[in-house]
Structure formats: C-alpha cells, structure tokens
C-alpha cells in the first residue's frame, strides 16, 4: 500500500512529510515471510515499497522503470540469481544504491557485499530501526553524483570527482560500507565550498532535479564503454577520452565519470587488477591471448588475483591462465611432473608453496593441500615428484624468472604464495607459461587444487582433483574471464609481481599504489575474510589467493595493496627491492614478528634470486607458523600478517629449517 500522500517528487517538498517519506524502495527476497515483514516495516517508515520475490523479476522491473526506484534492498541468497549479481547489475545499469541483507553474517559475505559495491549490509532479522535510515544512501549517492557533475573540467581522476584521488577513494570504498564514502567526503567538502546545497530536506529534492536524468547503461552502452576503457587502458582511462571514444550523443562526461567509478569498483572487486593493470587488463580483455611472455606474467597475476579474489572460479582462473600464459603450456594437465622439473622453477615454487600451504595450510586452507598456490596449475604434476623437483624448479625458476620471464613472476609469487594457498594460483599463472610446471604443480598438490580453486569455491581444501580439473578447464573458460583476469592480476600479482621484475609494464610503484588504491583497505578486507576461510576450508581457497595478494600489497605499500596493483607494483623493477620493502612492510603490518619477517622476506627475496631456496623457507615458515588451524596468524586482520607471520616465524626460527627444509618437500633434489 503506497501512501499517495508521500511521494518524492515535486510536491514532496511541500508535503508535510519530509523526505525520506515516499522513498521508493524495491525489496527483493525469496523468503515470503521476510518479504512481508520488510514490506510492512518499510511502509511503517513511510516509504513506497515494491516487493519482489525473484531477482530476475526485480531486474526487469528496474529496467522497465528506469527512474522508478530510489533504492534497492536485496537478499544475498536467492535461488534464481545470486544477490551479488543483482547488485552488480543494478549498480552498472541503473546506478541505484543497493543494500544487501542476509541471515548470514559471516565476514566473507559481508566483505563481498562491500567489494561488490553494496552501500550497506543488513543482518537478518532486520529491525525497523535499520530501515529507518536507508534514505541516507540515496542522498549520499545523489550528492556524489552531483559533485561529479560539478567537475566539468577535470577528469574524474584528477579532481577525484568526489573521490579524492583514487587511492583515498578506493580506500574509502573498502573501508566503509558505503562505496561512496570517500567521494562523499570530498564531495561534501566541495559542495560546501561552492556553497552548494545544504543538507536540508530541500536539498534532497533539489538533488533530484539537479541531477541529470539518469543514464541507463544498457548492455551495449556498457560494452562501448568497456571497449573504450580497454583501449585507453584502465588506469589511464579518463572520462573525457572515454566519452570521445564512445561518441554517444547525449552522453555527458559526468555520466561516464560516474560509470567509470562504478566500473572500477567492479573491477577492483574482481581482483583489483583493473585499475592498474591497464596493460594487463587490456591484454586480458582483449582476449586472453596476451603476448605470451609479458602477458603471461600478467596473466599469471591476473589469474592469481582473480583467484585470490575468489571471483574467478578456479576453473576460469586456470583457463585464463592458460590463455594468458599461452595456453600451450598451461594446458597440459596431463603433464607429469617430470618435464616440468627441469625448468620448472615455477613448479618448484608451487610445490613448496603447496607444501607451505599444507604446512600451515591449516591456517590458510586448513592445511589442505588445496592450497591455492597452484591455482590453475595443471594437475599434471604429481605431488610427490614435485616435492623434490619443485624445489629445484622453483629455484631454477626463480633464477630464471628473474630475468624477466613470466615465469619469474610466478616463481616469485610462489614464495609469497606459499603462504597462501592461493598464491599457488598466481604462480601457476605465471607458470602457465611453462606448462610443465603447471601440471606438475597441479598434480602435485591437492593444494594446488585448492589454489586453483581460488576462483572456484571449494568446500574441501583438499581437492586434489580440483587442480587437475582446473587446468583442464583452462582452455575452456579462458575467454570469458577477461575481466577477472584483469582483476586477478591485481591480486595475484602482488606475489608474482614482486618477483617478476619485468612482468608488467606497469610501474611497480604505480601498480602498487593502484592496487592499494583499489583496495582501500584490501588487506583488511581480505584478511578478514581469510580467517573465515580458515575456519572453513572451503572458503580458504578463495581467500588464499586474496590473501596472497593482500599480503603483498601490504608489504609493498607502495606496490600494491590488495589485488590489483600488486602485480603491477611488482612487475616493475624493483622487484627485489620491493620485496624487501614489502617484506618490511609486511612485517610491519603483521606486527607479529616484524623483524624476523622482514628478514625472512628479504631472505625470501634473496632466495628467489637464488632460485627458490627462499621459497622453501617461507614455506617452511608458513608451515611452522600456521600449523595450528585457524591460527591467529591468519586470523589477523591482515592476511599479510599471516603470511608475514609465517615468514617471520620462519625467520625467527633459525632452526634447521633451512630453506629446503619443508615438511613435505623433499628438498634433496633441489639443486640450489
């Protein structure tokens, strides 16, 4: 029952009911009981409610009625469409604020809400008090958009539209439940400065009128937009240029700017790659067939990032990786470890990583083999053979990689990745190049599987077969993971990036900042998630990668905070340098054994240079450290900590764990 008297619109200002009465809310929930209660509550708040029990129906309602709603409230778990998917669609197509809700209050899900751009997340049972203030999200969004339009001169990035620079913005995004927080802050100050709108109710009405008519981003329009962005390069894409390239009459720079913002959030969510991975994204987007060499590294990263983010199902990740890396190598699931062995430093990487994961896998993955390390790594490898060979390989790889091979990145990633099962993935991706490696790694460990699985939500950590399948899937799924890859790199890259000097074109610094920017507080977010995963093996996979990414990001603050920029950051040159920095940073972040950690990290770096010995170490550390399940290590806020702590511990444990002293790895055969 809609109260005709309460409506937003020209007469609402005169209406005795001040805004937010009449707010047009669309509530979507497949649970009829909840839906009825919500409807009643919203009506009690004097909102105009439309209820819907199916996401598809809600979307079509929204599409038909472009400007018919002010805000959407949606449940997370729905049978016909995932709530997050709906959230994405609404964000991109209609640009409406969306509030997610669920009986599920696990951090990972809440985080997902944040990364997908939800303006808030309500835990069921929802109380009416929580609904009374939802209008704030509508106002905030309007103000932000308004601000964006204000800056006609500069590009969004420059002025930050409402976002103070990408970094802060991204930070804000990550920090607050409201994506627009950062923007809001800057925009509000800007507004005040300009003597704009005051926050009175009046303003609210005004903002509607001030706001340009909402542009509906149809699929086609969005494709054009994406094409333009890709062409320009995600980081370099500026609304003005995008607008020119799109050449759509009636589209304003402001429209593009706000859409770009959302798009960036989306990409960030996917893996944070997009922003900085201009190159990478580009390559990915363009079809997963990036130049093998450089791309591979990227791909590796991307994939990893993706995997890390968990956005990209392990399978797709694998696929992507395969695609990126030059498929040829990747797709050899059948490869047995042997071929890989020789060059597979990457694999070595992986193995150690895997082990690592296993070791402390608990923390990350419950010690499952699943470590995501080898996410996407072809399962061709047999774990056993890997153990020994991988080490060697890794080392080799490391050494080899350095020169600027893609593999390197993977190698690099490994060490870091070690900690995170997911890391494996990235490594894998890099490895992708070297097929043999992948397969080896894959088979080698269930961990890998886990790694691969990053993308794929795995319920069991140990999914040995998974890796295999993942790889097998490479070829198949690659194509559509363009985006994910983009994002992936961000995440995975951190690991590899560091190692991979040449990996990406993007400047390490830039990358990192980008990454950081993108993620806002990615580490936190991801890490939080991580603990969750710890508890549930299955979830680990997703996080592992993420964690890895995050870890790196922290380490290399400059380099890249979570996801996307990591790779970039790393890719640049100062890899080693960065690593050290990162290490230091990470250490700091962790606070666990800061010192040791840095040392260990450095050591790691060093090792890498040498060829993987470091890795082993780190792995070891991880193992030692993380042994206890759900360890504090990983449950720290920042994953980095986990990794770091693991590393630190490693360092701190002067024990014999020498680099090659993995629990699971037989280092013997590793030729150092």
């Amino acid at each position: 029952m809609i109260n005709p008297g309460h409506g937003r619109g020209p007469d609402s200002g005169t209406n005795s009911d001040p805004f937010p009465a009449g707010l047009r809310v669309l509530v979507v929930d497949d649970d009829p009981t909840c839906l009825m209660i919500l409807e009643r509550m919203l009506m009690t708040c004097l909102y105009r409610v439309t209820k819907c029990n199916r996401a598809e129906l809600a979307l079509s309602l929204l599409r038909k009625n472009k400007h018919g709603f002010d805000i959407v409230i949606s449940d997370v778990h729905m049978p016909d469409m995932d709530g997050f998917k709906l959230l994405e669609h609404v964000g991109l197509e209609m640009d409406l604020p969306v509030i997610m809700m669920s009986a599920d209050d696990s951090k990972s899900v809440v985080l997902k809400g944040v990364t997908h751009g939800a303006v808030d997340y309500l835990i069921k049972p929802v109380r009416i008090e929580a609904l009374k203030n939802i209008w704030q999200h509508v106002v905030r969004k309007k103000r932000n958009e308004w601000n964006v339009s204000e800056h006609s001169g500069g590009s969004i990035e420059d002025t930050g539209g409402d976002r103070d620079m990408q970094q802060p913005r991204e930070d804000a995004d990550n920090n607050s439940s409201s994506v627009n927080e950062g923007n809001w802050r800057s925009s509000s100050s800007r507004k005040r400065k300009e003597g704009e709108v005051d926050d009175q109710g009046d303003d609210k009405e005004d903002t509607s009128s001030l706001k340009k008519p909402r542009v509906v981003w149809s699929v086609e329009l969005h494709q054009q937009f994406v094409a333009a962005v890709n062409q320009l390069g995600v980081d370099k894409a500026v609304p003005k240029k995008i607008l020119e390239m799109m050449n759509v009459p009636g589209l304003t720079r402001e429209n593009v700017a706000s859409h770009l913002q959302k798009y960036r959030i989306y990409l960030r969510r996917l893996g944070g790659v997009s922003q900085h991975q201009g190159n990478m994204n580009h390559s990915f987007m363009t079809g997963q067939d990036p130049s093998f060499g450089p791309l591979s590294s990227l791909n590796g990263f991307d994939l990893q990032a993706l995997a890390v983010v968990g956005q990209l199902p392990a399978q797709s990740l694998a696929q992507l990786q395969a695609a990126g890396l030059g498929r040829s190598s990747l797709i050899k699931p059948g490869m047995s470890g042997s071929p890989l062995v020789d060059q597979r430093s990457i694999f070595n990487f992986e193995n150690p990583k895997i082990r690592f994961g296993d070791g402390h896998g608990q923390t990350i993955n419950n010690g499952n083999k699943q470590m995501s390390l080898l996410h996407g790594v072809p399962t061709g490898m047999e774990p056993k053979q890997f153990a020994g060979s991988s080490h060697m390989r890794v080392q080799q790889q490391m050494a080899g990689m350095r020169p600027g091979q893609n593999v390197q990145s993977s190698g690099m990633m490994l060490p870091l990745a070690d900690h995170l099962p997911r890391g494996g993935t990235s490594m894998l991706s890099s490895l992708g190049q070297q097929q043999p490696m992948f397969s080896t790694s894959v088979s080698r460990r269930s961990d890998l599987t886990g790694a691969v699985r990053n993308g794929i939500p795995e319920t069991n950590n140990r999914v040995v077969p998974a890796t295999h399948s993942v790889f097998n899937n490479f070829p198949a799924d690659l194509p559509h993971n363009n985006f994910p890859l983009a994002s992936a790199p961000g995440i995975s890259i951190p690991v590899s990036a560091s190692y991979q000097e040449e990996v990406n074109s993007s400047d390490a610094k830039g990358g990192s900042s980008a990454a950081t920017a993108g993620f806002g507080n990615p580490s936190y977010d991801i890490f939080n998630d991580f603990p969750q995963q710890q508890q549930h093996n299955s979830k680990l996979n997703d996080w592992d990668m993420r964690n890895i990414g995050l870890v790196y990001s922290h380490q290399d603050t400059a380099a890249a905070s979570a996801g996307f920029s990591t790779s970039e950051a790393y890719s640049s040159s100062s890899m080693q340098r960065k690593r050290r920095e990162t290490d230091a940073t990470v250490v700091t972040a962790h606070g666990q054994n800061q010192q040791p950690l840095s040392r260990s990290l450095n050591h790691l770096n060093h090792v890498f240079m040498d060829g993987g010995s470091v890795r082993v170490k780190s792995e070891r550390v991880a193992e030692t450290v993380t042994c206890p399940p759900a360890t504090t290590l990983f449950h720290e806020q920042y994953h980095q900590e986990d990794l770091m702590s693991a590393l630190l511990k490693q360092e701190g444990i002067p024990s014999a764990d020498n680099e090659f002293d993995f629990d699971g790895y037989s280092i013997d055969n590793i030729p150092v």
């Binding site: 009829p32 909840c34 209660i37």
Partner: protein, 154 residues
C-alpha cells in the same frame, strides 16, 4: 472467563513464551508493526511462516532421505529457514537451524538427521504455542476486547 481475565491470561502466556526462549524480541518488532490499519499483521505473517516452513521441512526430509545426500541442496533450505524463523522471532527454531547448518557444512549425514528432528521439534512447539496465542487473542476480540500490548518488563 471474563475479558480482563482473558487479557491477563494472554499476557502471561505471551510472557512465558519469551521467558522460555521460544520467542525473542523480534516477535515484539512484529507486534509493533500491527496497528489498527493492520490488525492481523502478526497472525498473517506467522501463518505465512508456517506454510513456508512446512514446505521447507518437507523438502529437507526429502533431501536428507536420499541415498546420497546433496548438501548443496540441503544447506540453502536450512539457511532460509534460519532466516525466516529469525525474522518472526522463533528463536529456538533459529538456533536449531544454526546447529543444523554447521553439520551440513561438515557433511555429517547422521548429525543432520538429528538436527532435522530437532528443528522439527522446535518448529512444532512454536507453532503450537503461537496457535494457542492467536486463539486467545481471537477470544478476546470476539468478546469485544482489545489485545493488550505486550509488556515484557525486561
């Protein structure tokens, strides 16, 4: 029983449900949503809950009764039941669902069967109590009285 007595009985009865933990404060929220323009809101919602839950419990019995239990199907049902029971304030049902979900995650079929039984038990209990509550209310209304506001005093 005169009207006042009936009203008192209703109040005591309602209080007991809260004290026993069968209902929680969310139920109060529902009651607050009921007013003259929506005099039957609570009973409508609760009836809807019963219908939906019957369906879910049925599906759950079927799913768990399979040779090979597909937990991917079981879990969403339990999740939904958890959500709806918490929304109407059926605390014990919700708690039983939480336990149930844990075992689902562990894929422990045996335990899940037990959990289902537990959930059913709690559900029948709350259903029974609420039905009694509504009957009391109806009697009061039929006698021309008003349903007293719930004062829980806690």
């Amino acid at each position: 029983m005169d009207l006042v007595q009936m009203q008192k009985s209703l109040q005591d009865y309602t209080k007991s449900l809260f004290l026993e933990g069968i209902l929680d404060s969310q139920f109060l929220q529902l009651q607050q949503l009921q007013d003259e323009s929506n005099p039957d809101f609570v009973s409508q919602v609760v009836t809807l809950f019963f219908q939906d839950s019957d369906r879910i419990l049925n599906d759950l019995s079927l799913s768990l009764g399979q040779q090979v239990v597909d937990f991917k199907k079981v879990d969403p049902h339990v999740h939904q039941l958890k959500g709806s029971s918490s929304s109407i304030g059926a605390q014990r049902v919700k708690n039983a669902c939480v336990v149930f979900r844990n075992f689902c995650e562990q894929q422990n079929v045996e335990a899940c069967h037990r959990c289902l039984q537990q959930v059913k038990q709690e559900y029948y209990l709350v259903r029974n109590r609420l039905e009694t509550l509504f009957k009391l209310e109806q009697q009061i209304v039929a006698s021309g009285g008003m349903i007293p506001a719930v004062e829980l005093g806690f």
